[in-house]
């Protein structure tokens, strides 16, 4: 047990990697076995993330469960993993979405082996990003998380899948084009010749103008993945094309990588530059919130609507970060978690509906509440979370962020609050048109979510509720780390 606890982060990372290896060795036809391997690997990683959560000591801002292995010292690269309050929730989020995603795809029959292989490669990347404390490995895992998306969407997707997959991949890698100079630049211009993020953050470097440029690159480079305005158009089209569990992973976890990158690398290593960039970030975040909501309001496709709602909700994350306050940053991280769970739930419900009705056109649906009460109820729960209804996790996130925003940027904050109505508009519109109204003849005999497929959704909805009712679960763990960050930001 002690050995396990000492290497727990690497072991979490190895869960999908080993799963991937095993799946590669299994013969093509044995779908059930492959799914079982995937379920075990994802279940194990979920259990271990919970273990990390339990082991975490909330009373310190230090990195915990650190492992440090010299890798390529000549190039300043070390394998360093560790978690602090900022990444803890993300690890858990990944565990939950990975596990529920595997369960959601249990009925997959087309090219099962490849699907789970690519998924596990992607998840390995995601876990890696959230635990890496070395820029090289951070970026390595980041790229690893992005690329499988192409095949996952292009092969198993629907509407315009090849175009969407290509657009998404190129867009995200265009972001990487900025990250190459930025991340290497951090090591170079700090004069330390190391990619160790902790050392870079602690060093007393005078970045000067270069800091502004590097931060800009980092912000835009990672921000693309977080869907910042105006670099967001890859996201909805990608969501629409992707198969259910990929949408879950994509919107649920992958978009968080972007915001996390800005937070972990940009804000911690370049706090002064963050100070200068904060107004720009706040304004763009406001655009995300309002503009995203209005575009979502204009969508006729269920998945597009959710896709743009993600654009809007990720704006809340960026706004929270831009406030540079304890409440705002806590709220932003809370929102990353809550939004991840919420969209996963959204997509898992929409996936069910689409699989049965073969349409996502809002105008063609209607009255589903009476044929699919479970799917509808779960969708409505996700929708309510999206609106920011209390007792669901995202309420706290939005509450903290908006209140902090009003304090820091009164005008932007109050405008951002208007996003609450805008999001209510598009979510309720969809609920009304899709689930309410007289049941349509065409969908009358469609099956609801079966008992076997229910647990995945219940885990998601339950997580939303638990964190909504007991926000302290999240905030306590964030407390010290965010405080340390705010202190750094304040100079």
């Amino acid at each position: 047990m002690a050995w396990l606890d000492a290497h727990i982060l690497t072991i979490i990372l190895m869960c999908p990697v080993v799963g991937l290896g095993i799946v590669m060795l299994i013969h093509n036809g044995k779908d059930l076995l492959i799914k079982q391997v995937a379920a075990v690997s994802s279940g194990l990683s979920l259990v271990l993330s919970l273990r990390v959560w339990a082991l975490f000591d909330a009373s310190t801002a230090e990195l915990q469960m650190v492992e440090r292995v010299a890798w390529l010292p000549s190039a300043g690269i070390n394998y360093i993993v560790g978690v602090d309050g900022l990444s803890l929730a993300m690890v858990l989020l990944t565990g939950i979405v990975f596990f529920t995603g595997v369960l959601t795809m249990w009925e997959l029959t087309n090219r099962v082996k490849e699907y789970f292989a690519f998924t596990m490669a992607l998840v390995a990347g995601v876990f890696g990003v959230f635990i890496s404390q070395d820029l090289f490995f951070f970026f390595l895992f980041y790229e690893l998380a992005v690329l499988p998306m192409y095949l996952l969407i292009a092969i198993w997707g629907s509407t315009r899948r090849e175009f969407a997959a290509m657009k998404l991949t190129l867009f995200l890698l265009a972001g990487s084009a900025l990250l190459f100079p930025a991340l290497i630049g951090l090591a170079h211009y700090s004069g330390l010749n190391t990619f160790d993020m902790t050392l870079l953050a602690e060093a007393d470097t005078d970045w000067g103008g270069m800091g502004l440029i590097l931060f800009g690159f980092i912000y835009v480079g990672f921000g693309v993945l977080a869907g910042i305005f105006p670099f967001h158009t890859w996201s909805p089209i990608g969501h629409v094309a992707a198969p259910t569990a990929v949408s879950m992973l994509h919107a649920g976890v992958l978009m968080k990588l972007g915001a996390y990158g800005v937070l972990r690398i940009g804000m911690i290593i370049l706090p002064e530059a963050m100070g200068s960039w904060a107004p720009v970030i706040a304004v763009l975040a406001l655009c995300n919130i309002l503009y995203g909501a209005f575009v979502a309001l204009g969508q006729t496709d269920l998945k597009y609507m959710i896709g743009y709602s993600s654009v809007s909700h990720m704006g809340v994350v960026m706004l929270g970060l831009a406030t540079m306050t304890h409440a705002g940053i806590s709220g932003a991280i809370f929102q990353m978690f809550a939004h991840g769970i919420m969209t996963a739930l959204f997509f898992s419900c929409v996936g069910h509906i689409y699989d049965r009705t073969h349409t996502r056109e809002i105008s063609r649906l209607g009255g589903l509440f009476h044929t699919m009460p479970r799917a509808s109820t779960l969708f409505i729960i996700a929708g309510m979370a999206g609106i920011g209804v209390p007792c669901l996790a995202s309420f706290w996130a939005e509450f903290l962020v908006f209140v902090a925003a009003v304090k820091t940027w009164p005008i932007i904050g109050i405008l951002a609050i208007c996003g609450l109505v805008a999001s209510a508009l598009f979510v309720l519109r969809v609920i009304q048109k899709t689930f309410f109204g007289p049941p349509l003849e065409a969908w009358k005999d469609l099956p609801d979510i079966s008992n076997g497929m229910l647990p995945a959704r219940l885990i998601l909805a339950g997580t939303l509720l638990v964190f909504g009712i007991i926000p302290g679960l999240m905030l306590t763990n964030l407390d010290e780390s965010v405080r340390a960050l705010v202190a750094v930001l304040a100079g």
Binding site: A75, F139, L140, A154, A177, F180, P181, H188
Partner: protein, 482 residues
């Protein structure tokens, strides 16, 4: 003869021995009968492959010393490169064996392997030469062999034209290089590279630097750097797969080694390196843009090679051990990745009349041969610089070296180029993984082909994730020549 000294020359001796063996096969076994010809061809296949493997094993033995009146240096650097060259040769020999695709006529196969081996020998010389005459001889020896290899493609067609154009361009540019070298000799009075380096550093006149630049042209041509790359697409496209794979993989490694050796001449001069930086940008941009619209897989690989040469040149702007070792690391990775791609080319192209291979030929590969599709996936993503392959790690090390050389904005350009490049690699992958074919019957592959591919893929991934297995040794190796 001092066996201690001879031990330094072992890999070359092995190559020469192989060449001799092939020569014997050429002259003795071949007869008028077609059965005899086939036997001769098969024997040549084996001799070439095992000779190369043997040479590679010999290159693994650490050796350190000088030969031939100190005009030939053997050390970590040259041994590493020779190892890669021999591996590349083994790969290409295997890819051009009779059972593979049969684009080299049975009658020519012993000669084909002979020239392949001699080309490798030339490059091995190039790697160790510390003196301009030996350097130039090595360069030309390998170059002439390559011209012939291209021309040896069996069927009637464009290959003759491509070979001729290749030859014309090669001859012209090596004349330019020779001109540069003669100026250097004139300025410094010596043909020793170290001696010239000292002279140029002591008195870095514009003429001297211009001469260095001119002498680089021969190597840049081999590396297919823009604007000396024009031969590459045609040659890749129409040459037989064996020759193309050798030119694309092993010969690039030789060129990198030669480039590193020559560049030591201009280390002290920024302007020279900024010109290289300019070439790097032009090369990667041009290569990637042109690759976007290609319909032929091998031609696409050629343009991608032009782009990759650009990344490499950019990395060399670091001008230190890190940059030089990153270049070799990247060269090694590139060799492996290109071999992966050519394994797929050979297996998929089996039975096609033409040496060309349209991208659509890999359509539905995931169904026809999942393992081969996997190999293609690793190969292309590695070229695209996607982790966890050595392609990613190599690119990171090159970019870092470039930034340490002050090329911040160049890296940005390189990053953007990397994005463009993803597009065409994905187009090929899409064909293999997404597009379906009407006839999904499993592909008849050679029994070992896909497995060899998987083995190389694993190596690529392992060396990508654990660069520390080789990097310290490479750092030591390049420290000796800098």
């Amino acid at each position: 003869m001092d066996w201690g000294l001879a031990s330094l020359f072992l890999p070359e001796l092995a190559l020469l021995g192989t060449a001799l063996g092939l020569f014997v096969v050429t002259t003795t076994v071949g007869g008028g009968e077609s059965a005899d010809l086939r036997r001769a061809g098969a024997m040549a296949d084996r001799v070439a492959f095992f000779g190369a493997v043997f040479a590679a094993l010999l290159a693994l033995v650490p050796a350190e010393g000088q030969l031939f009146f100190e005009s030939y240096a053997v050390g970590g650097f040259s041994q590493s490169v020779k190892l890669l060259l021999c591996l590349g040769l083994a790969g290409s020999a295997w890819l051009s064996r009779g059972a593979a695709r049969g684009q080299v006529s049975v009658r020519d196969r012993p000669e084909f392997h002979l020239f392949l081996t001699l080309a490798t020998f030339g490059m091995a010389m190039l790697t160790s030469a510390t003196e301009l005459v030996g350097f130039y001889v090595g360069l030309e020896l390998s170059a002439y062999c390559l011209y012939l290899l291209v021309a040896m493609t069996r069927r009637e067609g464009d290959h003759a034209e491509a070979a001729l154009k290749y030859f014309i361009q090669g001859a012209t540019l090596s004349a330019v290089a020779l001109f540069g070298m003669s100026i250097l000799y004139g300025l410094s009075g010596t043909t020793s590279i170290a001696g010239i380096g000292a002279a140029v550093t002591a008195e870095p006149t514009t003429l001297a630097l211009a001469a260095v630049l001119l002498s680089l042209v021969g190597v840049l041509f081999k590396l297919a750097v823009f604007p000396f790359h024009f031969w590459a697409p045609d040659v890749y496209e129409v040459a037989n797969d064996g020759a193309a794979s050798f030119i694309a993989a092993a010969s690039k490694v030789g060129a990198i080694a030669a480039l590193l050796r020559l560049l030591t001449l201009g280390l002290g001069h920024d302007g020279l390196f900024w010109i290289l930086g300019g070439l790097a940008v032009a090369s990667m941009t041009y290569g990637n843009l042109a690759a976007l619209v290609q319909k032929d897989l091998k031609r696409l690989l050629a343009y991608s090679g032009v782009a990759q040469a650009g990344y490499l040149l950019m990395g060399l702007m670091g001008r230190d051990e890190a940059a030089w070792s990153a270049a070799i690391y990247y060269g090694a990775a590139y060799l492996g990745l290109l071999l992966l791609c050519f394994i797929v080319v050979v297996e998929v192209g089996r039975g096609r009349e033409d040496a060309r291979l349209p991208i659509s030929a890999v359509n539905g590969l995931y169904k026809k041969s999942p393992m081969l599709a996997m190999v293609l996936l690793v190969g292309l993503l590695g070229l695209a610089g996607v982790p966890p392959t050595a392609g990613f790690t190599g690119k990171w090390l090159l970019f870092k070296a470039a930034l340490d050389g002050g090329a911040f904005w160049l890296i940005l350009v390189a990053g953007i180029n990397n994005t463009i490049a993803i597009y065409y690699y994905l187009i090929v992958l899409k064909a293999a993984y997404v597009d379906d074919v009407e006839d999904p019957t499993p592909l008849q592959t050679s029994p070992l082909g896909p497995k060899l591919g998987v083995a190389i893929s694993l190596a690529i991934v392992l060396f990508g994730v654990f660069p520390q297995w080789v990097m310290p040794r490479l750092l030591d190796a390049v420290a000796a020549i800098l």
